[in-house]
Symmetry: C2
Subunit: 870 residues, 2 copies
Amino acid sequence: MKYVYKFSEGSGSMRELLGGKGANLAEMVNLGLPVPQGFTVTTEACTRYYQDGEFITPDIRDQVMEYLAWLEQDSSKSFGGAGNPLLVSVRSGSRASMPGMMDTILNLGMNDAVVEGMCKLTGNPRFVYDSYRRFIMMFSDVVMDLPRHEFEVIIDKMKEKKNVQLDTELDTDDMKELVALFKDFYQKSKGAGFPQEPREQLMASVEAVFRSWNNNRAIVYRRENDIPSSWGTAVNVQSMVFGNMGDDSGTGVAFSRNPSTGEPKLYGEFLMNAQGEDVVAGIRTPQEIDQLRGIMPEVYDQFTSIVAKLESHYKDMQDMEFTIERGKLYMLQTRNGKRTAQAALQIAIDMVGEGIWSKEDALLKVDPKQLDALLHPTFEPKAIKEAVPAAKGLPASPGAACGRVYFTADAAKEEAKNGPVLLARKETSPEDIEGMIAARGILTARGGMTSHAAVVARGMGTCCVAGCGDCIIHEDGGYLMIGDTRINAGDFMSIDGTTGNVYIGSIPTVEAEITGNFNIFMAWTDEVRTMKVRANADTPQDAAQAIAFGAEGIGLTRTEHMFFEADRIGPMREMILSKGEEERRKALDRLLPMQVKDFEGIFTAMGARPVTIRLLDPPLHEFLPQRAEDIKSLAADMGISEQTLKDRIDSLHEFNPMMGHRGCRLAVSYPEIAEMQARAIIRAAVNVKRATGTDIVPEIMIPLIGDVNEMKFVKGIVQKAAEEELAGFALKYMIGTMIEIPRAALIADEIAKEAEFFSFGTNDLTQMTFGFSRDDAGAFLDDYYNRKIYENDPFARLDQTGVGQLVKTACDLGRKGRPGIKLGICGEHGGDPSSIEFFFGCGLDYVSCSPFRVPIARLAAAQAKIKSKG
Amino acid sequence: MKYVYKFSEGSGSMRELLGGKGANLAEMVNLGLPVPQGFTVTTEACTRYYQDGEFITPDIRDQVMEYLAWLEQDSSKSFGGAGNPLLVSVRSGSRASMPGMMDTILNLGMNDAVVEGMCKLTGNPRFVYDSYRRFIMMFSDVVMDLPRHEFEVIIDKMKEKKNVQLDTELDTDDMKELVALFKDFYQKSKGAGFPQEPREQLMASVEAVFRSWNNNRAIVYRRENDIPSSWGTAVNVQSMVFGNMGDDSGTGVAFSRNPSTGEPKLYGEFLMNAQGEDVVAGIRTPQEIDQLRGIMPEVYDQFTSIVAKLESHYKDMQDMEFTIERGKLYMLQTRNGKRTAQAALQIAIDMVGEGIWSKEDALLKVDPKQLDALLHPTFEPKAIKEAVPAAKGLPASPGAACGRVYFTADAAKEEAKNGPVLLARKETSPEDIEGMIAARGILTARGGMTSHAAVVARGMGTCCVAGCGDCIIHEDGGYLMIGDTRINAGDFMSIDGTTGNVYIGSIPTVEAEITGNFNIFMAWTDEVRTMKVRANADTPQDAAQAIAFGAEGIGLTRTEHMFFEADRIGPMREMILSKGEEERRKALDRLLPMQVKDFEGIFTAMGARPVTIRLLDPPLHEFLPQRAEDIKSLAADMGISEQTLKDRIDSLHEFNPMMGHRGCRLAVSYPEIAEMQARAIIRAAVNVKRATGTDIVPEIMIPLIGDVNEMKFVKGIVQKAAEEELAGFALKYMIGTMIEIPRAALIADEIAKEAEFFSFGTNDLTQMTFGFSRDDAGAFLDDYYNRKIYENDPFARLDQTGVGQLVKTACDLGRKGRPGIKLGICGEHGGDPSSIEFFFGCGLDYVSCSPFRVPIARLAAAQAKIKSKG
């Protein structure tokens, strides 16, 4: 088995084996570009390393040594030799670019003897000792797990002693002393001297790269970017070239186009007489790449022609590293450049305009998730890079927000007049709505992705972190605790609803901005896409927002939130607490005209687009009052004693409300509720059709079906009410169900005989299939990631193995039971690109997601279509 | 389509079509026995009736009329004719005997004109008017839904007026007046006269029988006896013969063997000059059947020879009805007789002894569920027949109990010295244990089948009704409310843990008694059975009980209840609330020796029988204190403030604990808990093996696995701890998992690669597959039965369509992943006969159930085996 490749043995197509960096180095060598020679240890070696119990077997070590010998020969240098020493850099490089992994180690191969030799060779001992102390520090930190901080303390003491500010002000002797101090510290910490054997340094570094594949940052990054842990990383070993050999040397990074704006113009910076890390370290201010033309015109021309060659070869914007050693240009790396969402669109449109990409190419080049940044405020990239989260909750509604935090809706509303505020509550209730509207972001300690806070926030497009159990919120006391840190009302906090991160203090945000490019690009997605995209929308405002983002219908209107509004919650509560059907019908009669108005609003907003309305779903006790004063006033309204009311509320208590009396089970117990809703839907549709002439197509959706008899029963009630309302008026409506109970998926053929459409409720389906509730899983999912049991949050990305199996089964059985049955999905996965690709594969007719995810879904659906043709 | 059969056209094998009663009447006719002629309307006609929207179509009506004409001709009488009128009885008769259905209607065909004719014919107007008033009352009640009570009021007034006690004391004129009053009442209530057209009476009665198939009592009975609603009922129309035609007439019921004791001797009673209902009405005291020999020796001899013929023909104890009309014997019905559990065993053993049954026949003849009555107290049959349940909860632990109710454990314990008590609590906690031991029965308002009360009660064999939400218990006030009825401490209540029924007042109970017959019979089950039967047992006492009932191993030891004991709950709580691993390990170190002792006790009791021990399963907050004083004292013990403790308890709160941080998820978060338990299991096994030389075979079971990586991770921890404990000592142990999460069933092939055995946790699997929690489903399951959506409680009887599909899938995949993998089931379905038959069909190696259900499971497993050979 071949585990090591020279760059010249590889190619750009060998990404899986050589990693991105290795494949691109090989490709550049093949293109005849000036690349320092080297070799790549393959990703398969990494996989072997883990299979063998985190151990590099002798056969792999032997191959590394063999290629090292070749590199010595090729460069006419000797690794560890004092005469003409070969130094190398060691870098990780996985298939996908992964910033979470091991840092580069430069100058590897140095030891006391080599240092002596180099001093003679270069005549520049300060440079040599500077390089050595850098190497000792990098190696100790990255490979040997010694705290970097300790080395920095040693440097700081030295600078204090010498009374200087910058490292560059330290002289050769200082550097020599630093080397000695570093080695002492190493000896003390490790009980052994700093490794003097370069081959030992090399193998330890290779192993450190392998290990870094499974460090926490890498795992988190993989999870967020859907990268499987089975891929492994490659290791690149490359001859060092030195940009710090004098004024005819230098180093820099450049992009073939502007990565922030997409402007089609070389963009980058460089430093003369410097090594790689100096460019980013900020010790000296780098120069703009244009200025290189004046300094070294030939090198500049050579570089620009290489850039052009690389971009047209890779057909994408390139992110490159280069070094100039004594006037000679070396390319150290190239890769497709990361870019902001704005830049991504600009580049896509330019590339299509330049004839380099087809529209389909362009569509594949933009990451759907990136579009989020165009729709929501985000943190300033630099500021967030330095910020450390203090706690983590559920990413309940995307975007970033920063403001003074308040713990009551009233305070939030009041203080919002003076500047941005965040509202933090144990959990929110309908009474908090004004404070929620006033707040830039909402933080709750309890509640999940479908809690009041989460759903309301997503509907408004307001950033929300929900269920952040690390925050102990004392609403009455007006403060919250994160660990031992106390945050008072009025203190600054920042929250990120895209990641769930919570920060103490202020992090500046960047506002979202939709440009013309966005609309051009999104129109392309629609040209390609065959799967429809709908939105989950509960109000006419949501519906309008959804249409603005390109939704082709509503896949889910939850009717429950309508009942939380001030004028409805009263009759709703009386309905729930009524003693029998008669009393209940009286309360329902008061709700009916309000529901009719709700649906008229939505139908009017949506016009002829299909609208799926779900019958009442949550357990009824969610609507009941909890505060003593609310109970008191409701008891008075109902003319019963507080104790009687409390007893009734108590009797509605459930142990596991998620698995309790909800969904179609409510319609089974209280058919009159489903009847009222069916009436309201049909009456509203008739009214709007009469008023506007538009053909309204309501799709009435019965939730939580698990048995065909349930479906028959509830359908019967809905149908009867609908026909009575229509009284012969011509209006087409459909009755279907959600598939969100595992049993429903298993008997979908039977259910399809009664249901005109299926909509997969993958939130609940995931909960039931995994047997854990989303609201509670936060307590242990991190342990699952840390132990590498799960790689992804199954609520964010559909579990294709288990839940997906049920989805597929239900699609197949559903079509068997009713050929051509309409299939859709309205769970949160409807806005997740990888899940959308899966749903496309299952042949769903549409996906439905929250309005702000509609653009993402449109792009993902287009990509799925394009990929399916490949 | 033929919907009506003469008795002579049918046979005993046509049960499905003609119902049990109809098929047996046909069979008796075929045997040449004296049976009044008649015909049967088939079960298919009933099914048609429902298919046609509860309507009897003309084709069926025509066939009934055709056969009626034949019956007139055959009897030379005329239906509705005054000259020689034909009267008939109408009775329901389904495939299985169903007491919940329509009562018999006698004397149908009477009207004013017929009455006149009969008076002339019999010369006995009192008898005729007595028959007429009976008919009006029966028809009005059963067919026309008029309240029977109103008729009784009219009779009572009449008796008051005449100043007599008994109906028999009323004379002809009184009877005439009653008929007139009855007809008036009918006219007033229905707005029309009592139907005078006999054919109308007949068709209305046929329809009433069909309707009665779906009345509530019938639905409940079907559910409890696994009878599908699709079967429908037949209707038998038979010429009336009269036992009340004088002193040479009579009527009676008899059993070919004693149905209470099984004694092989004719048993029954009769009344001369009486009609059927008089025998049961208790107006006159019936005579014992033997006495008939003295009165009518020829008829008696004829009857005993018919009895012998019928028993040997049906090869089972017969329950017969007969009438003597003017010295001529008529057989009206025969069927296999219902019998007590004691009688069932006696008859089985006698029948085998008599060479009538093989042992296998005998095994099939006893209903496994009946065995329960031998193991637990039951209510006196007569007393319970008259009792009306006041409320219904979950049947958490079988048996019946009656006593004075108390609302605190202390009171129950104290008062138990003076007589039997029931303990009623909102929910029980470990602090209540002494009161629970003292009580005859336990009633809780909250909590499900796996609540503390339920599990502890089942273990002790104490009757328990759990989660009875209709009981509003005021523990402090010392009373409970059922609706508007208040029951004070010290009042009598009765509860039935087999049905979940709760009664106000005292209902006498009968103690359980195990006889030699039981052991003989159970030994036969073991001769036949191939599937093993184990018990769920958490303590050495449970284990001993299980062995006494014939368990061949333990299929489930729940370790959690061990931690509720007084000496453990302290360290357990400290463990749960500890700040980090170190603190947690300290508390675990204190628990370890106690767990070792627990397991030593169980291993010692079980010897070489396999013992499956499940690692800690419930969410940790179940162990935490709730009462203010307990929190206070725990905070003091732990040296932290009450507020800090409350905050920590609060942070462990879960929305849906059933789907929360429990099962193997605990082991993922806190591997040290699984490690401690694995150590304790292995250490105990080693100790017992060393001490006794017996080969102990622990099976370590990891609960709630949903992903193969979870299994790998937790298995790794268990294995490491086990190997360390063994330190080379030779002891075989197995590591397996429960299959209780739908996802686990879907990927069982992968999981089987890591698991040495599967045990199906069908309780949780049912919950997740249906998406409702057992603890909460009580609130709506009754609605599901009433609306005919479900026929069975899926927690009592395995849902073979949905959940069973997952069980089968998991068995198939499991064997694919690991050929010969050991398969068992430890959910409550392991004690349910129909589910056991299903599991046998899946090829499970064993079923495991609570100790008191082991005999049932042994018999059911034997039956499954016998049936599989047929």
